[in-house]
């Protein structure tokens, strides 16, 4: 599901400023270099972000699973 988000095939708007900036940044990053390796890097970055902020992002994590 997070792949779709990075590829701009899905849209998700959070109330968290950091997450919105991250999504925008990863979309731009992947858009400039559309390779499996870049996608993997973007997914790892998103994973690290969610791990760090898991305690305040339960809603976002659940919502993203449903995309």
């Amino acid at each position: 599901m997070r792949k779709k988000l990075i590829k701009k095939q899905a849209k998700y708007e959070s109330t968290n400023l950091g997450l919105n900036l991250l999504i925008s940044r990863l979309q731009r990053k992947y858009s400039a270099n559309q390779t499996p390796e870049e996608l993997k890097n973007c997914l790892q970055e998103m994973k690290a972000f969610f791990e760090k902020y898991a305690s305040i992002m339960e809603k976002d994590i659940e919502a993203l699973k449903k995309l």
């Binding site: 998700y12 708007e13 959070s14 968290n16 400023l17 950091g18 919105n20 900036l21 991250l22 999504i23 925008s24 940044r25 979309q27 731009r28 858009s31 400039a32 970055e45 690290a48 972000f49 760090k52 902020y53 305690s55 305040i56």
Partner: protein
């Protein structure tokens, strides 16, 4: 809190961890201690906007269980992410027009780690009616800088976490003309207007665009402003206070007739917010004539640029400490 010099000195001598904003004439009188500061004579207090050179705006960071300060230049400013605490927040103050400010403005959105560590702050300024310059202070050493940034890294208790937010009173009409740029830049000559290349300065003058209105881009529903600093009719360059980026679509913001009323409207949804820090832009203060007008629950310095991870323009920025 908006306090006089003696009160600020007392807080420092009590060993409090502080973020301070004030005119340089006051900052240079402060004793060494656990603080950082930046220069500005403009504030929005709980009583309203004010220009003052005899009071200081002080945020006590009482939630910090540990702290450290650091000074950065453009060669190492992104070490801020390495220096920050695993669970903490960093306050960053950068002098206006310094190399480090320009570098941070352009590169922060491309920094891999910046979003992993809440960084909030501002660009320090000066009295616009004088020929002063902006400074920052590292209170631990007592040193001031016009060409370096200073950070206060704080460590939070395990059950707390920092959260940053912004209030942007500007919005756009999605059907309005789309403006794009071909490179990341703080200064441009050309742009694409609905896909057609034009001289941006000519486009602005021919269309009588109010340059007090920022360009606005959508960052996944977060509207990010880029304010126009100046236009040179001679060289046909348009300079910005923050960079524009290739691959982003910009539109000029809709006019705002009453800034104070617009802030009041946007602040309705922040009644429960308990900021430990906030700042607002000098352009909002000046264009919006916010002198004497308050923006509850937010009070703080009026700044020459705002930092919420990356550099922002014409935006109110705030930090909260919330339960995990």
């Amino acid at each position: 809190m908006f306090i006089d010099l003696d009160q600020a000195i007392k807080l420092i001598q009590e060993g409090r961890v502080l973020h301070i904003a004030a005119d340089d004439s006051l900052l240079k009188q402060l004793p060494k201690g656990k603080w950082i500061a930046g220069t500005t004579p403009y504030f929005i207090t709980e009583q309203g906007g004010i220009t003052s050179k005899d009071r200081l705006f002080v945020n006590e960071i009482a939630c910090a269980v540990d702290y450290k300060t650091a000074v950065y230049d453009k060669n190492n400013v992104f070490d801020i992410t390495k220096d920050s605490y695993p669970n903490g927040m960093s306050f960053l103050v950068i002098p206006f027009a310094s190399d480090v400010a320009v570098f941070y403005a352009k590169e922060a959105p491309n920094s891999n780690d910046l979003l992993m560590n809440p960084t909030v702050g501002w660009i320090s300024g000066f009295d616009l009616s004088t020929n002063s310059s902006a400074k920052v202070y590292d209170g631990v050493t007592g040193e001031s800088y016009g060409d370096k940034a200073v950070a206060l890294h704080i460590c939070l208790p395990d059950h707390k976490i920092a959260s940053l937010g912004i209030v942007n009173i500007f919005d756009v009409d999605d059907n309005d003309i789309k403006i794009e740029f071909e490179e990341d830049a703080l200064s441009v000559t050309k742009c694409l207007v609905n896909g057609k290349e034009v001289l941006f300065s000519d486009y602005i003058s021919e269309n009588k665009i109010d340059t007090q209105l920022p360009l606005v881009a959508d960052y996944n529903s977060v509207l990010i402003n880029v304010s126009i600093k100046s236009i040179s009719e001679e060289s046909k360059t348009v300079d910005f206070y923050a960079p524009v980026f290739s691959g982003k679509e910009y539109r000029f913001a809709r006019p705002v007739s009453n800034y104070a009323a617009s802030f009041a409207e946007h602040l309705q949804e922040h009644k429960g917010t308990k900021p430990i820090f906030s700042c607002n832009c000098i352009l909002n203060y000046l264009y919006g004539e916010l002198e004497g007008k308050a923006t509850p629950p937010f009070a703080g310095p009026v700044t020459f640029g705002e930092v919420a991870y990356q550099l922002l323009n014409q935006t109110l920025v705030y930090a909260e400490i919330i339960d995990k």
